[in-house]
């Protein structure tokens, strides 16, 4: 099955919200690719410059409650438009997490201590990569010869969404001839 990630960027903050990931002033776009230049434009993080720091980035590693706030799937689209298909965090807001899997992208939740250890070992070093292999359930974080492998578990539904390429594909196949029950 698929792998996600690559060159990784650490964002040392809890509660990075979707307004920060893609500000509302860009929600007037109706095509996903148009969001590309604006990713994380409003992120409040000392020394962070999205244009400089996100160039070539393929994975984000952050702390708790990533993607809180607005339901805008534009946040997941802005990540994907920039080639970021993996976000590793100590926790996700429900809608953002679902949006990621619904788009066939991976939101990988790890215990806060694990995330903390990754920050201590890898954050700030040049050339760090994070690659999640869904088939083996392993996240490999690497910097030169220094590698940490972290096992992870995904539920069967999340796996099925990644396999299908997203919820629209999955639902379309599975609920081809859906009969609704009467409302209560």
């Amino acid at each position: 099955m698929k792998t996600f990630g690559g060159a990784a960027r650490f964002l040392d903050r809890d509660d990075i919200n979707t307004d920060e990931i893609i500000p509302a002033r860009y929600l007037t776009e109706v095509e996903r690719e148009a969001l590309k230049p604006y990713l994380l434009e409003d992120l409040r993080l000392e020394g962070f410059d999205p244009r400089r720091d996100l160039a070539g980035c393929e994975a984000l590693i952050a702390r708790a409650n990533f993607g809180c706030g607005s339901s805008r799937e534009h946040a997941a689209w802005a990540l994907e438009a920039n080639g970021i298909r993996l976000v590793v965090a100590a926790g996700f807001a429900r809608i953002f997490r679902q949006n990621m899997f619904n788009c066939g992208l991976l939101a990988l939740e790890l215990p806060a201590e694990r995330i903390d250890a990754l920050f201590r070992r890898f954050a700030g070093r040049p050339g760090v990569s994070a690659v999640a292999d869904v088939a083996s359930g392993t996240l490999a974080v690497r910097c030169g010869g220094d590698t940490e492998r972290i096992p992870f578990a995904l539920g069967p539904f999340e796996r099925a969404l990644l396999e299908a390429g997203g919820w629209l594909e999955y639902a379309d196949r599975r609920y081809e001839s859906l009969r609704r029950k009467e409302s209560p």
Partner: protein
């Protein structure tokens, strides 16, 4: 084992269990607005699936930027409008009939006890005030909901928040929910449904309950939910009178959604609101909450009274009562935004609009615009807004702006003072005479 409100709604709507912890529910209604729906429409069309599961169960509104401010927002409106016409979606609300979705749709009677409803907007949780399961979702969930009438959720886990005591004068549902978010934190209810209970909720009218449920998502909740009672029936009566012989019968029927006495909750919290004073946020997260008196004197540039949190008639009545016969501080730009045309008209009849205009407020048409910095009240870098809305995120109302969330009473008093201030309705300490 007994069941929570959410568990009962899940049981009644289950169509599939693709995994042990995943429930696919049939939806009684699907709501959409012009920001998150057009990408779903375009995506479905690209896939050759430009269809809807049931036009009678889909409700759509242009509310975020309206009337359109530029070519892009005009296109968003057009995509939604054309789609609604194409599919015979009768409940489509365009300029002149449109209002803030989470105020407009309940006002139209579209949300009923026991319903499962989704919308591509996080504050859909507002509608849980009616005893319904109403989570906000993203655009892909919305696309599937529009096409198939279903949506997937994890097994519901409910958290019960019991509100006891009695609110002091000048303290409102907004202060209560700010207290809740402040206490449990911005992810204190992540992946949970917040079931409100207790005498304070029973005493609240439907507008206050909507304010309460509205900000549950600021604590990460899937939605808020209140048990449907006589007040729910009274609010909905004009829409449901054909279905029940009388109000008592409706209330009795809705009691099937009440939680069982032995229902299991992942967490239960009791809050005594008796000593609660008016609250206000500081910083960039909605759980950064302090008593208004501690922030009193903080200078402000703008006041916004409106939004799906506090743009209802009861909110305008309170705010107008405070500014009536007075003039807002010369440094302050005051913006009042009645959330729907019906509220606007009622405010006009009651003289509230006149009160606001005399005090120096600008009264705008119903829109979500200012709350998320999209139109009619965007902040400049370094500016500060006292706002009755729901989010104080960095850049929320404009890049570099600061937002302090508060009740309409506090916002109105702050407009007069030119700085954050407690309202005269609150008997506690005021910073200015």
């Amino acid at each position: 084992m007994g069941k929570t409100i959410a568990e009962k709604i899940f049981d009644a709507h289950l169509v599939d269990r693709p995994a042990e912890d995943v429930w696919v529910l049939s939806l009684d209604a699907v709501f959409g607005h012009e920001i998150t729906t057009p990408p779903a429409i375009l995506e479905l069309a690209r896939r050759g699936k430009d269809r809807v599961f049931d036009p009678g169960r889909i409700k759509a509104v242009i509310d975020h930027v309206t009337p359109a401010k530029d070519g892009k927002t005009a296109l968003q409106g057009k995509i939604l409008r054309d789609w609604a016409r194409r599919h015979g979606i009768r409940d489509f609300f365009d300029v002149g009939r449109n209002g803030v979705c989470h105020v407009l749709f309940p006002e139209q009677g579209f949300v009923r006890p026991g319903y499962a409803v989704v919308m591509g907007d996080s504050h859909t949780c507002t509608n849980g005030a009616f005893g319904a399961f109403t989570p906000g979702v993203g655009t892909t969930d919305l696309a599937v909901a529009l096409l198939k009438g279903v949506c997937a959720f994890r097994t519901p886990r409910s958290m019960k928040i019991t509100l006891k005591g009695a609110l002091a004068p000048g303290v409102f549902a907004k202060d209560v929910i700010l207290a809740v978010v402040g206490r449990i934190g911005v992810d204190g209810a992540t992946d949970r449904i917040v079931e409100f209970d207790g005498p304070v909720v029973s005493a609240m009218d439907m507008e206050a309950r909507m304010t309460l449920c509205n900000m549950t998502v600021e604590a990460g909740a899937t939605c808020g939910i209140c048990r449907p009672d006589e007040k729910t029936v009274d609010f909905l009566w004009e829409f449901i009178r054909g279905d029940f012989p009388d109000r008592e019968a409706a209330a009795a029927a809705f009691r099937r959604w009440w939680p069982d006495p032995d229902a299991a909750y992942v967490e239960e919290i009791e809050i005594d609101v008796s000593g609660l004073e008016p609250l206000c946020t500081f910083g960039y997260k909605p759980d950064q909450v302090k008593p208004v008196r501690e922030l009193a004197g903080t200078p402000i540039d703008q006041v916004f009274i409106g939004s799906c949190t506090n743009g209802r008639l009861s909110d305008l009545r309170v705010a107008a009562g405070i500014v009536r016969g007075k003039t807002i501080h010369p440094r302050v730009r005051g913006i009042v935004c009645p959330a729907t045309p019906k509220i606007y008209a009622a405010a006009l009849r009651e003289g509230l609009i006149e009160d606001f205009l005399q005090a120096g407020f600008c009264v705008t048409n119903p829109t979500c615009g200012p709350c998320l910095g999209m139109s009619t009240g965007v902040l400049a870098e370094g500016e500060v807004c006292a706002s009755t809305s729901n989010r104080n995120f960095n850049g929320r109302m404009g890049k570099g702006g600061m937002v302090h969330l508060m009740s309409p009473a506090t916002a109105a008093a702050s407009a007069l003072a030119g700085a954050i201030d407690n309202s005269p309705l609150f008997p506690g300490t005021r910073s200015t005479p």
